[in-house]
């Protein structure tokens, strides 16, 4: 009898232990789809690209170890440095005016006096949902090199000779930056608008009673309260502009010229047009480093601003 009941309790304990174990297994199984997907489509390609950066490989033949030669090759390539320069210049041209305009648009959309608010909001957000390829094709027509291109014919009115946009140092950059501006300005406007709507109207009312002008309200209430939103858009804008790719590719119609080639376009050309996967991976790693540096810089600035705010409070 005694031995029997002992056995029974022992069994019970064993079962409850394994039940716990089972639960944890079930838990892992439930979260596994994400990790499996991430491992196959995220982690593996990333690690493989690090590995490839030290090899020569054309995608079909043998991989041969190449040491740091891939890095030496790209660092000695003036076009590589040009592509970094282009990326930064196009990024600045496309992002800085965009964020300023987005802020002003959001402010206008948030104004009490404005009618048909929703229509305007939808209209401004619309470019964001447009296919990026359609945008690039549309803009290559606007920035057509012939005298009948939209921009060139406007310039013609002022007696300016038609610009061959694809072959002009600044023409190409401005054209690409305009595409980025047009596509992303609505997205940032909506974010700023959401931020502005979260600011309590009490603050504005109090400021009005104290006799603050519109520009004072903007400067001392809207801007500080929007800081987290502005930081977010700057952060995303920085990373986004370091990855500019589709616009130059379609704008140049295949033959990527040095006037507008970006880092990602540069590595795409190596990898998928010429199958030089080694140098393409090396470029990707350098780009990874650059993005890291910018992100850390952003983070440092964010922390500092946050601290400043805390001290004031």
């Amino acid at each position: 009898m005694v031995s029997n009941s002992e056995k029974y309790t022992e069994k019970k304990v064993k079962r409850s232990m394994s039940q716990e174990k089972r639960n944890s297994i079930a838990g892992y199984l439930f979260v596994s789809p994400f990790f499996i997907l991430f491992a196959i489509f995220g982690l593996f390609p990333m690690l493989f690209s690090f590995y490839l950066a030290f090899f020569k490989w054309n995608g079909l033949g043998e991989m041969t170890f190449n040491g740091i030669n891939n890095f030496t090759i790209i660092f000695n390539d003036p076009i590589f440095w040009k592509s970094i320069y282009n990326t930064v210049v196009i990024g600045l041209l496309g992002t800085v005016p965009q964020l300023i305009v987005a802020f002003l648009l959001a402010y206008a959309l948030n104004a009490q006096a404005l009618r048909f608010k929703n229509t305007f909001r939808v209209a401004i957000f619309m470019p964001y949902v447009t296919s990026i390829v359609a945008v690039a094709i549309l803009f290559s027509i606007i920035f057509n090199s012939q005298s009948f291109g939209l921009v060139n014919s406007i310039l013609g009115v002022f007696g300016v000779d038609p610009i061959v946009f694809t072959q002009s140092e600044w023409g190409a950059k401005i054209a690409i930056a305009t595409m980025i501006f047009w596509r992303w300005v609505g997205y940032n406007t909506i974010i700023y608008l959401a931020g502005m709507q979260s600011i309590s109207s009490d603050l504005y009312e109090a400021a009005k009673i104290d006799g603050a002008t519109l520009s004072q309200q903007l400067r001392y209430i809207t801007l500080p309260m929007l800081k987290p939103f502005i930081l977010f858009t700057v952060f995303m804008g920085t990373i986004g502009s370091l990855q500019i790719f589709t616009e130059p590719l379609i704008f140049f119609g295949g033959n990527l010229r040095e006037e507008g080639i970006t880092v990602v376009a540069y590595l795409y050309r190596d990898a998928f047009e010429n199958n030089f996967f080694g140098t393409a991976s090396a470029t990707a790693i350098v780009l990874f480093g650059i993005i890291m540096i910018f992100s850390v810089l952003n983070l440092l600035i964010t922390n500092r601003l946050g601290r400043g705010k805390a001290r004031k409070a």
Binding site: I36, N144, N255, N274
Partner: protein, 425 residues
């Protein structure tokens, strides 16, 4: 216990979905549901091969062929990925002539068609077309040639007439039988009509280039472009026309290029046979376009090869099908139905071919013009980095054309960039 089963089934099915993603493409051979095995075939563009496969299956009831057509860029990317991974490639894959170069050293991914009987049909095809499909040493055959794109001179009757030249195809060809004469013609066109003689720098350079015996690489895949006088000559010739103001700045496939076709903004278009469809599409109402032979020979632009993958387990059945599909008789069908220009000279002797006329191009036998061109194309080895070199030379010419670059400096810079980029190989 039941719960555990349920959860593992759930997770299992998630994994199955994942696995499904990768095995979807690799249906090669295994995709049959009993009965005869399916031969998978990947093609691009409008080939009409779906209908021809139906016809073949009617004649051979024990064969099942599944033709899958994709857009050209995606098609080649998918194929490259599958071949690179070593699994997932179809039994038969169509590869464009420019794309086949990158597989030159990847013989282990393809079936050698010489082992499947390709030697027996070699004589049916134009020699230069055949040679592109085989390895540099001639031991390995990658694919059977489908159609080709021999080049000729398209011209606008109105512009030619205004420049004071005969508009009859034979007479015009006779008066423009050398590049020197063509150069004079360019001057006359510019002077009398104010229009450029060609649409852009690319096609005139290509036309001259295609008449050289060697281009950018030799058969050992060594870069020879810098010392190749013929290529430099093609470059200089293009530059001389640019300096005359005889070269337009309407890059291929841009809206202004198509519009120029409709309006007659340039005198000649040095294009391949399949450009007929492009001209008709861009200038549907024009009755001014005509076709004649180019000065001093012809080149080739386009065409494809049908390859069989190494991993296919029905190489013989697949080979039997493609041998039939690109035989002279079937190529005549493809020519009639889809305008694919045959790579088999025997087809040029057929009545349907000899009596072919095209009302759009003044009722002349356009097929005969291209057939003559096809026989003149040079057998040139291109090499896997051909397009890289071509791209840099085009950059140089475009700089001369629209940014007023110094031709010698642009050439030197292009050579420098080419060498820099080829270090990566």
């Amino acid at each position: 216990m039941k719960k555990l089963w349920k959860t593992s089934i759930l997770a299992g099915s998630a994994m199955a979905i994942l696995a499904g993603c990768s095995s979807d493409e690799s249906g090669s051979g295994s995709g049959s549901g009993g009965g005869s095995e399916t031969i998978d075939m990947w093609v691009f563009g409008t080939t009409g091969y779906e209908e021809l496969a139906e016809k073949y299956m009617e004649e051979n009831p024990d064969v099942k062929i599944n033709v899958q057509s994709t857009e050209m860029g995606d098609h080649h990317n998918n194929l490259f990925t599958a071949l690179s991974a070593g699994q997932g490639a179809p039994d038969i894959a169509m590869i464009e002539v420019g794309e086949i170069e990158r597989y030159r050293e990847a013989q282990d991914r393809f079936a050698n068609l010489y082992d499947l009987g390709a030697k027996d049909v070699q004589g049916d095809y134009l020699e230069w077309v055949w040679n592109v499909g085989q390895s540099a040493d001639g031991e390995f055959m990658f694919g059977l040639p489908t159609d080709i794109g021999p080049t000729a001179m398209y011209y606008r009757k109105d512009v030619v007439e205004e420049a004071g030249y005969p508009t009859d195809p034979a007479e015009l060809a006779a008066s423009l039988n050398t590049w020197e004469a063509y150069s004079q013609f360019a001057k006359d066109v510019a002077e009398k009509t104010g229009k450029p003689v060609v649409d852009n720098a690319e096609l005139i350079f290509n036309a001259k280039r295609d008449q050289a015996d060697e281009h950018y690489f030799n058969r050992d895949n060594e870069l020879i472009v810098e010392d190749n006088a013929a290529i430099r000559e093609a470059y200089d010739y293009t530059v001389s026309l640019i300096e005359e103001g005889a070269v337009g700045n309407m890059p291929l496939w841009t809206p202004e290029w198509g519009q120029g076709m409709a309006e007659g903004s340039y005198a000649t278009l040095l294009g391949p046979a399949w450009m007929q469809g492009v001209v008709k599409g861009n200038a549907p109402d024009s009755d001014q376009w005509m076709i004649t032979t180019m000065p001093e020979g012809a080149g080739n632009w386009g065409g494809s090869y049908l390859t069989i993958s190494e991993e296919s387990d029905q190489q013989e059945e697949a080979y039997a099908f493609i041998e039939w599909l690109v035989s002279p008789e079937t190529q005549l069908e493809s020519f009639k139905d889809m305008g694919l220009f045959p790579s088999t000279p025997a087809t040029y002797e057929q009545d349907e071919f000899i009596n072919y006329t095209d009302d759009y191009f003044g009722g002349i036998n356009t097929a005969a013009v291209f057939a003559e061109a096809a026989e003149q194309v040079k057998d040139v080895y291109k090499g896997r980095n051909y397009l890289l070199v071509q791209g840099e030379i085009m950059t140089a010419l475009n700089n001369v054309l629209s940014s007023g670059g110094d031709p010698d400096k642009e050439w030197d810079d292009a050579m420098e960039r080419i060498k820099q980029r080829l270090e990566r190989e």
